[in-house]
């Protein structure tokens, strides 16, 4: 799929270039705009990986809310003139990041990601035969030898089912977290006096 390849590498170029801009550009306002670009590119990756819902969330929350909050913060603190200056830790920070990047890339390339994940699991070989990349669809799963019941449970297991099913506890806990952030943020931004 040469077309997919081109889109992927184009998005990668935008994301990485934008990310470098965020940390290197001196003008904070431009850095925030570049950050929004990175967010859009990451949303593009989500679409390519069949995670459409996440792509929508990415655009709505990251681009629509978080990037805008950053721009608000930058404009309200009027610190644009001094901008995005580096501190004295540039060289150690660069070394640490480069070392971690090397370790991560080495891990990503050398690890055989399928050894443990499927070890001892019955359906592994069958599903591997279908070459099922991505969230498998019903035909792939049927071909892989799953029963109609199992196929239905995969096809029907949307994000929403998981969020209020298996992961209902973190889902509820995150509401407390948002409450705490709202209380804390409001209390601090409102000021203490009067």
């Amino acid at each position: 799929m040469w077309f997919e390849q081109i889109v992927f590498w184009a998005l990668a170029a935008v994301a990485i270039g934008g990310a470098l801009g965020v940390v290197l550009v001196r003008d904070l306002f431009r850095a925030a705009l570049l950050l929004a670009t990175v967010f859009v590119a990451v949303g593009g990756f989500y679409v390519m990986m069949n995670a459409e819902f996440l792509a929508v969330v990415q655009i709505l929350i990251y681009v629509g809310a978080i990037a805008v909050l950053f721009i608000f913060g930058i404009m309200l603190t009027r610190d644009v003139q001094r901008g995005n200056a580096p501190n004295r830790l540039q060289i150690p920070a660069g070394v640490i990041s480069a070392l971690l990047l090397a370790a991560m890339v080495f891990t990503a390339v050398t690890t055989d990601w399928t050894t443990l994940a499927g070890a001892g699991r019955e359906n592994q070989a069958q599903i591997a035969q279908t070459q099922a990349v991505g969230i498998p669809d019903a035909t792939e799963l049927t071909r892989a030898g799953l029963s109609a019941e199992e196929v239905e449970s995969v096809a029907g297991s949307g994000l929403a089912d998981l969020l209020i099913g298996d992961f209902v506890l973190p889902f509820e806990a995150v509401s407390l977290l948002l409450l705490a952030a709202a209380i804390g943020g409001l209390a601090l931004a409102r000021g203490r006096g009067r």
Partner: protein, 502 residues
Amino acid sequence: MTAYDLYLVSPLLALAGLAMMVIIVDLLTRRTGLLVGVAFVGLAAPAALSAWQLAELVSTGESRLSAQGSVVLHTLSIDRFSLFFNFLILAAAGLVILVSTDYSRRMERLQGEFFGLLLLSATGMMLLVSATELITMYIALELTTLPLAAMAAFLPNGRSSEAGMKFLIIGALSSALMLYGMALIYGFTGSTRLDEIAAALSAGASAGAFPFGSMAVLLAIVLLLAGFGFKMSAAPFQMWVPDVYEGAPTPMVAFLSVASKAAAFALVLRVFYVGFDALGGDWWVLLAGLAALSMTIGNLVAIAQRNIKRLFGYSTIAHAGYILVGVAAVASVDGTATFGPSSVLFYLAAYTAANLTAFFAIVCIGNRINSDEIADYSGMLRRAPFLAIALGLALIALIGVPPTGLFFAKIYVFAAAINTGESLMTWLVIIGVVNSAVSAYYYLRIIKVMFLQTPIHTERVGASWPVNVALGIATLAILWLGVAPTPLLGAAERAVSVLSGG
């Protein structure tokens, strides 16, 4: 979601409900005393519900609560281990709330928010100690950290805001590192549940040339340790500790130094002893390294400190090192893996008593003399005998001298380390003993300033009765653990039996 699910999470619900009630009460009244009363008395509800769950465990003899068709049991486990920490966290929260009575006036209009966020943070800790699934752990960690970051910035001065800012940034940074580790684990094992991770790892644990069988698991463990290291305030991830300890409101620092630390260690114990158990426990070498580094850095830098809150920042790093010795004591010669973890639990309880006492005294003294410099503590014995004696006792406990709980705690931790039969662990114990001797120097210096020097002022320093009650309880806890450690040690041993699948 069944009714039984609600019963399982009822202590959490009660605590979160109490947090919201406190905030509402704050809207209706401005009386600090009433706020403290509601918050303190309300803690009885989660405590009673936890006690009820414990009673059920005792009566059925099961190691953990379980039920058919329960949804929340996918993500958490209510067992003796989590209940042990529930009580520890609730006790710390209650005492800190009492002590904040005088101090919270400094926060002007933010008192209700202060108590509300403290309780929300405690909710996060209680979720954290029972979580058995990575997503839940992450959310619980953030629920623990974010309210504390907000509270750190509550004082109306620049230093406090800076403390909050540093705490937030470092917390987010460490979360990001930890998250990448979690993503690797999920990718490698296909699950975020600790039991399934353990099963998947044991199915292919011996494969591969790298430590832990795979570069992915090795990197994941290192990144997870980096993330947890920040929360445990262990070196080399400790840079934020002294600054936050100095700038943030003292009662919040007291809570952070004991409850947040205890929850972080509970998390580490669960992740490593349950999730990575199948890896043969090779990870203890990494933990031992962190332990040696934390003890040494914490104690050496503490010597030069002039500000008492900063000094306690370094002291807490050193104690994270001692506790890590117990965490690293994973395998013992007779094959039982409960000695190390149970010594950790006992150490955390004893440390909670000692450190809370010390911080409570610092809260009272600092509130009156408006200074946290050690030099200003001169002659405190004559200005505030009760506070000075309590602080002195806490300092003696922190050195690890009998008859205090931390004396036994240190003995247990070091004994667990020697019991592993590894020569590396023996060296770690030697480092620990030397460090304890070093720490005596700076702890005793404070006692000398308080007891032997002449006071600058003669004005008496006192506190209101709730503060004195809290201080009295914490002081008695130090002595009680020093005189009769057996009941708590028994509870700790029963609690950690859950980790090894008992």
